[in-house]
């Protein structure tokens, strides 16, 4: 709780979630502060995706408190701001992309935030340029490769200038080249993140701390049992300063 840890962006307090009468999150508490990159590991069906859905209000907490960006969030209206400031990178890129061209897809979020057409397109162009993908702007989104689509999705959420990225298995089904590109981009970003992944090396490079979901509960400080992560973390920090 030292001052250097920064303000809490997201705080869950004793959150319970039930889906179809079955408990999916069991007394989950979690704090994400500015600068945190929290890894969430755990077996399939442990509740990791549900955790992200609860933070964004897609899933209603049965009880407990979801606090985000300094306010308790309950209604859909409350969560609208959360979804813009804590952007969710879709697990399946095709779920996010539906515009004819890449540029339009990336401009969609900014448009919804109230930017006019001109400003939204500029924002989209700038974001694509930042990711080194300006050449893709006029391409037909549907015809991109899986890896390119994932990066376009990332551009789409980054264009909304979120404080927090919620990444659900971001490297799933990506080829090595695009994993590398995605990792380079993510580790260069000055944003808080929650990263759900099975990919140990990825977490080693990105995460600053970790939790494990097991039987619908969160277990803290799992990274301590994996000294590897610390080694890599230091390397990663070194790169950042280089």
């Amino acid at each position: 709780m030292s001052a250097t840890e920064g303000a809490a962006f997201i705080e869950l307090e004793n959150v319970y979630v039930e889906r179809a009468g079955v408990r999916v999150l069991d007394n989950v508490s979690l704090t994400l502060r500015a600068g945190d990159r929290l890894a969430v590991v755990g077996a399939n069906g442990a509740g990791k995706t549900t955790l992200l859905r609860t933070i964004t209000g897609l899933q209603k907490a049965t009880s407990g408190t979801v606090r985000a960006f300094g306010r308790v969030r309950r209604t859909q209206e409350d969560f609208r701001e959360v979804r813009i400031r804590a952007a969710y990178l879709f697990q399946d890129a095709d779920d996010q992309l539906f515009c004819p061209t890449v540029l339009e897809d990336v401009a969609f979020g900014p448009l919804n935030m109230g930017l006019n057409e001109q400003a939204a397109l500029e924002k989209a162009n700038a974001t694509l340029a930042f990711l080194g993908m300006e050449h893709l702007g006029e391409r037909i989104t549907r015809r991109l490769s899986g890896g390119e689509k994932r990066l376009v999705c990332l551009a789409g959420v980054l264009a909304m200038e979120p404080d927090v990225l919620l990444l659900d298995e971001p490297t799933n089904s990506l080829d090595a080249k695009h994993v590398e590109k995605l990792m380079t981009v993510l580790s260069s970003l000055d944003k808080s993140m929650i990263i759900v992944s099975h990919d140990r090396p990825i977490l080693d490079r990105l995460a600053t701390r970790a939790v494990r979901m097991k039987d619908c509960r969160l277990e803290p400080a799992v990274l301590h049992r994996h000294p590897h992560v610390h080694e890599h973390l230091h390397v990663h920090v070194g790169e950042d300063h280089a």
């Binding site: 964004t56 209206e77 609208r80 979804r83 952007a87 539906f98 919804n112």
Partner: protein
Amino acid sequence: MVSQQIVNGLMLGSIYMLVAVAFTLAIGVLNFLNFSIPGLFMVGGMAAYGGVKLGLHWSLAFAGALALAALISLAVERLAYRPMQGGDPEAPLVSSLGFLVLLENLMLIRYGSDQQAFPPLLADMNLRIGDLVIGMAQLASLALSIALVVWLSWFLSATNSGRRIRTVAESGETAVLLGVNMSSLAPRLFVGSAMLAATAGILFAVNYQQVSPFMGEGVGFKGVAAMIVGGMGSIWGAVLGGLLIGMIEVLSISVIGANVVNITVYGLLLLILILRPQGLIGRPPSREKL
């Protein structure tokens, strides 16, 4: 005369088409089978009748009827749709059905249950092509319905609001995650489908010169049938289904007789659905839902 029947069938079909498109907007985008739509159709016809009877110019009476339907639809959104979000999907269906019954009974109290005669507009103006007689009101209605649907289709495919609506149709969750503001979009959609339904009600009143508190029910059923036969969630499917049902209805009345018209209409629809369960336009590929 067959060509006259075809014109009449198109006219009736264009009314079903507007109602079917109103249903399609509600179910395709919001996943809500909105049974207040037949009520809004009726409000269009009855309120226009009430306005004209009060001595208003027809244009004012029509505008008033549309405005009333829009307000009622906003109330449906607020009271039937919004509170039920995240709950049982059947709940808003039932509460919107409640609105239909409520509207019918309010009109019943005000105007009684009889058919009321709607005064003819543009009565003496007919277009004659050979033996074919097309009333100007009929022609204007047909043109207006088609223009409305073409405009709607353009709006959905070419504007930013349309893109938002298509995203919601695709996935409500995707849309809200990308910042679409559902609490402003949903009321607009309700107003949009109310406008379509009430316009259909007004056109019905003008063309068939009769209105009643229960005029929405038969049309509502045919609108839903048109939507299903056309292919759920597709606007052009609803257009095709509506025109087809209007045509079958008019032709079967003149060929077989009015007594069996519902049997022929629904029998044929059943046959179409047996042969093509996904509807005529089919379940559209998920990327081009509307």
